[in-house]
């Protein structure tokens, strides 16, 4: 049986661990709220953008020289996967889930004989995927040291993807990230970015939606709108990713705190039993010593 001093040391160390996990849980909860607000604030823009794109898409659909961002290159050979993960660990299964999802996707694509290229966003996914697919990773982005992701960050990634498309480096682009369902559940999702999946233009009652005039003209506007749409999709994924990350971290830390509590209880019980056993033993020794006299 462990001696008392050792037990005391262990109880103390578990106690300080519990303090840390508790603090991390609080911090994650506060950051989660902020991330959720940010995601909320970005929604109106994305919705309006989808509506406009729907109207425009119909106008140029079937046009042979529609922009590449909309229709892709027409081939389906080289796939670019943009994998979004967290920059830090200690968030339960959050990072592993996306990375595993990405790995399954890569395997599936490669078994079909396609070429895969990977652009990682966030440090954790980068290190996971590099272990197995180092040769396919074409770029890494990380927001380490940044307080919050802004639209500019998403824009930067979008610019990079667009440049790669212009250079003919891939045919299909898919975004892989954790979709934020609620605080306790995030699901890894793959969303195709290029060729763009056009939202259906909803016909609004009483509005002659289909008859827009364009200034300067459809093609020019579309050429400006598409990169923006790409950026906003990425932005949304980044926001969902960060909200999901904090949600998952909060959960993980909550569990850890609870486990530490259980552990402390168990250790304290053992500690007290040992202490009692020691006292009893000493008493027996004293009594039997006295009797022997």
């Amino acid at each position: 049986m462990a001696n008392l001093k050792e037990l005391r040391g262990r109880i103390n160390s578990v106690k300080s661990t519990r303090k840390i996990t508790q603090a991390m849980k609080m911090v994650a909860a506060a950051k989660l709220r902020r991330a959720q607000q940010q995601a909320e604030a970005a929604r109106p823009y994305a919705e309006r953008m989808a509506r406009m794109l729907g109207a425009l898409g119909q106008a140029v659909a079937g046009n042979p020289d529609a922009p590449k961002l909309l229709v892709g290159t027409g081939a389906d050979q080289v796939h670019l996967l943009v994998v979004v993960t967290g920059d830090r660990g200690l968030a339960g299964p959050f990072n592993t889930n996306v990375s595993r999802f990405a790995r399954a996707r890569i395997r599936a694509l490669e078994s079909e004989g396609k070429t895969v290229k990977i652009l990682t966003v966030g440090r954790k996914g980068a290190s996971y995927l590099k272990r197995e697919f180092a040769s396919r990773v074409v770029g890494e982005v990380s927001f380490q040291g940044k307080k919050r992701v802004g639209f500019e960050d998403a824009n930067e990634i979008a610019t990079r993807v667009t440049a790669m498309l212009e250079a003919g480096e891939f045919d299909v682009c898919t975004l892989i990230y954790n979709r934020f369902r609620n605080v306790i559940s995030q699901t890894p999702t793959g969303q195709q970015l290029i060729p763009a999946e056009l939202p259906e233009a909803k016909a609004e009652a009483g509005d002659a939606q289909a008859w827009y005039e364009y200034e300067p003209d459809e093609a020019t506007i579309l050429a400006q709108l598409l990169p923006k749409n790409l950026a906003i999709q990425i932005y949304r994924a980044l926001l969902e990713n960060s909200a999901g990350f904090f949600g998952s971290q909060m959960n993980a830390m909550d569990n850890a705190t609870r486990n530490a509590g259980d552990m402390i209880n168990k250790l304290t019980l053992t500690y007290n039993r040992t202490r009692q056993a020691n006292i009893t033993r000493e008493l027996i020794e004293i009594i039997s010593g006295a009797e022997a006299l």
Binding site: A42, Y45, M52, Y212, E215, P216
Partner: protein, 136 residues
């Protein structure tokens, strides 16, 4: 007077959503006054100031840095890349941006006409911003 709903959204938030009488928006091919009942249009915007008029007076001035506007008879939605109320524009930030854009334009001198044009657009937008900050 008749009104229409004006919505101004940037990627980061919804800045304005309420009925107004008239809005003047900086369309790519010149400023454009929008009144209720306009024919549906989608226009590109350049950097400039959106002026909102209510009761015959300009009640709100917001600077936008490019974007799009969707106009229908009853509603106008402006998708701005970046939007700030003119009153809170900072002169120093605007000046810094002009300088940056000028440098970028000079650097783009030997590039393709498209990149040069994009740099020019950015420079003009930055100058608009500086002018708006100056006037505020």
């Amino acid at each position: 007077m008749a009104t229409f709903d004006l919505e101004l959204v940037s990627p980061e938030k919804l800045l304005l959503s309420r009925p107004v009488e008239m809005a003047i928006i900086p369309a790519a091919e010149g400023e454009m006054g929008v009144l209720p009942g306009m024919a549906p249009m989608i226009v590109a915007l350049k950097g400039g100031v959106i002026r909102v008029q209510e009761n015959g007076q300009t009640t709100e001035r917001l600077f936008v840095l490019g974007g799009f506007a969707e106009i229908t008879p009853t509603r106008v939605t402006v998708l701005a890349d970046e939007a700030t109320p003119v009153a809170s524009l900072s002169r120093a930030a605007a000046a810094a941006r002009v300088k940056e854009a000028e440098a970028a334009y000079d650097a783009a001198g030997s590039e393709t006409p498209e990149t040069r044009e994009a740099a020019m657009d950015r420079l003009l937008a930055a100058r608009e911003m500086a002018a708006a900050a100056e006037a505020a």
